[in-house]
């Protein structure tokens, strides 16, 4: 369970499936029916072509570290220094997250390092999709 104080997301009709998936340990992305390309954040149509012909699928949970900052000031729910990261999912889309089970230093956080999903409950309603270094290292 995460320390209290973080901003808590409030799902909408368009994003509820994503947050339900996180609670069940599944990273659910959507795929455009015209191009076959995955996209994020959730919406019931394709940002590539505008088609409503889209499907939900379970992503692998594998990602690489695309970029980040290490914040050095206090924020409710966090102990500085902590990294705010953007990861690139194996399926293509990127998402903001935190990297857990890893030192929060430039030396430990190498760009393009391999990551895997680490679902972490915030409370009974919301589980956040965090990431950890993949087993087997970079």
């Amino acid at each position: 369970m995460l320390a209290p104080g973080r901003a808590k997301p409030k799902p909408t009709p368009e994003t509820k499936h994503f947050w339900d998936g996180c609670k069940q340990g599944k990273l659910l992305l959507q795929r455009c029916g015209d191009t076959g390309k995955a996209y994020f954040p959730p919406r019931p149509f394709s940002p590539y072509t505008g088609t409503r012909n889209v499907s939900v699928f379970e992503a692998s949970g594998r990602a690489t570290l695309h970029s980040y900052v290490i914040h050095h000031r206090p924020v409710p729910g966090f102990t500085p220094p902590y990294a705010i990261a953007v990861v690139e999912l194996e399926e293509g889309p990127r998402m903001m997250t935190n990297i857990v089970e890893c030192e929060q230093t430039p030396e430990a956080l190498q760009l393009d390092m391999r990551l895997e999903i680490a679902f972490t409950p915030m409370d009974e309603e919301i589980t956040l999709p965090l990431f950890r270094p993949a087993k087997g290292g970079r």
Binding site: R6, A7, K8, P9, K10, P11, T12, T15, W19, F40, P41, H66, S67, Y68, V69, I70, H71, H72, R73, V75, G77, F78, P81, Y82, I84, A85, V86, R94, M95, M96, T97, N98, P106, L111, M122, I126, L128
Partner: protein, 382 residues
């Protein structure tokens, strides 16, 4: 089609004071700048028939406070470059005959926070769901998110990113109104307090109180005004995404790549004709992205361009000559101050005047790479 130089800036001013202004609320900062700009143009509120400003202030608040009856308003709010978009929209509106004399205002109590509006993302918004839970805390934690990817892609060093701040401080040293004027070195920057790695406090913008205002009209009327007219040659605007995590390319801004070239092409100028450049520098990486995305440098070459002294006093492309958001002032929406410096340079009245400057490009960014607006100015009508 709007002609090159058809519209001119005939009034321009900042608030009487900049920095800490504990004696004025946010709306009075707008009014102080507006009154100064009207005095600059020799106009009264009854002469103004169009008003633009950016949220949280709405045009009806400004119009009523100043006693203006507008027949055209614009409340476009896309962050700190909203004023570039207001200039563009106002020029089109004057061309279309919707208004004759348009006032654009900015005021922000960024430091004193008197009547300022905090705007945390709503928990149901996409930012609230997919960024806020991971600990961002304002622009210093979000705007620099792409920087490490840019550095790795182009081999840019921490020293390069410190040099941006050092060079801008050189310009600020020539400007009595700049908040920070003492010279700094690369070591000073790299030893300053860490805010959000890779950026330290000297690579982050100031937080100040202040404001500015502009008055636009048809260039055919410009000779009726007391100041040297500053002509609008070309304009551009675009938006990409409100979520920095969803930028398509972390090494380049799509909004920059649309707004900048659109303005430069509309102006009918060559990049080598540009005498003076403003690139909104909320953080030290923005001049690099701006130089590259506007086509002044090839991708990856901007850091070297700055390191070699091209943007310094005496360099071939003077950049951010007021000291920029890093050293001059930054209320929260700095775009108005970049425009003011372009106008001063074109009028020949800037504290660090670029001798003989005839063309100025002023490029703004808004909301963590959300948005962009670019204006090309000249003191000669084509």
């Amino acid at each position: 089609m709007l002609g090159r130089g058809e519209i001119a800036i005939v009034g321009a001013a900042e608030t009487t004071q900049l920095g800490a202004i504990p004696g004025m609320s946010q709306i009075m900062l707008h009014a102080d700048a507006a009154l100064n700009a009207m005095a600059d143009a020799g106009l009264k509120p009854s002469d103004i028939d169009g008003v633009a400003c950016v949220g949280p202030m709405m045009p009806q608040q400004i119009a009523h406070y100043l006693g203006i009856t507008p027949k055209w308003v614009d409340g476009t709010g896309v962050g700190g470059c909203s004023f570039m978009l207001h200039v563009r929209h106002a020029a089109a509106a004057i061309h279309a005959g919707y208004a004759n004399t348009i006032l654009i205002t900015h005021g922000e109590s960024g430091k004193s926070r008197i009547n300022a509006t905090p705007r945390p993302p709503e928990p149901e918004s996409l930012n609230g769901q997919f960024e806020a839970p991971f600990g961002p805390f304002g622009p210093p934690t979000l705007f620099p998110i792409p920087v490490l990817r840019y550095m790795k892609t182009h081999g840019v060093t921490h020293e390069d990113l410190a040099t941006v701040a050092v060079v801008q401080r050189e310009w600020a040293g020539k400007n009595p109104r700049a908040m920070f004027r003492d010279p700094i070195t690369v070591d000073d920057v790299l030893n300053s307090r860490m805010i959000a790695y890779p950026f330290r406090i000297l690579q982050c913008c100031l937080v100040t109180d202040g404001g500015g205002a502009l008055i636009l009209t048809k260039s055919d009327r410009a000779k009726d005004f007391p100041t040297r007219p500053v002509y609008i040659l070309g304009t551009g605007e675009s938006v990409e995404t409100n979520m920095v995590s969803q930028m398509a390319d972390f090494t380049s801004s799509r909004a920059f790549r649309v707004a900048g070239p659109t303005a430069i092409e509309a102006a009918g100028i060559d990049r080598k004709d540009v005498d003076h450049l403003m690139i909104y520098d909320a953080f030290a990486h923005l001049p690099l992205y701006g130089l590259e995305d506007l086509g002044f440098c090839k991708p990856g070459e901007a850091a070297g361009f700055i390191r070699e002294g091209n943007t310094r006093p005496g360099g071939k492309l003077p950049l951010n000559t007021n000291g920029g958001g890093l050293s001059y002032t930054h209320t929260g929406m700095y775009g108005m101050f970049a425009l003011q410096e372009s106008v001063r340079q074109m009028r020949g009245t800037a504290p660090a005047q670029v001798p003989g400057a005839k063309i100025s490009v002023c490029h703004g960014v808004g909301g963590m790479f959300s948005a962009s607006g670019t204006i090309v100015f000249s003191n000669e009508r084509p």
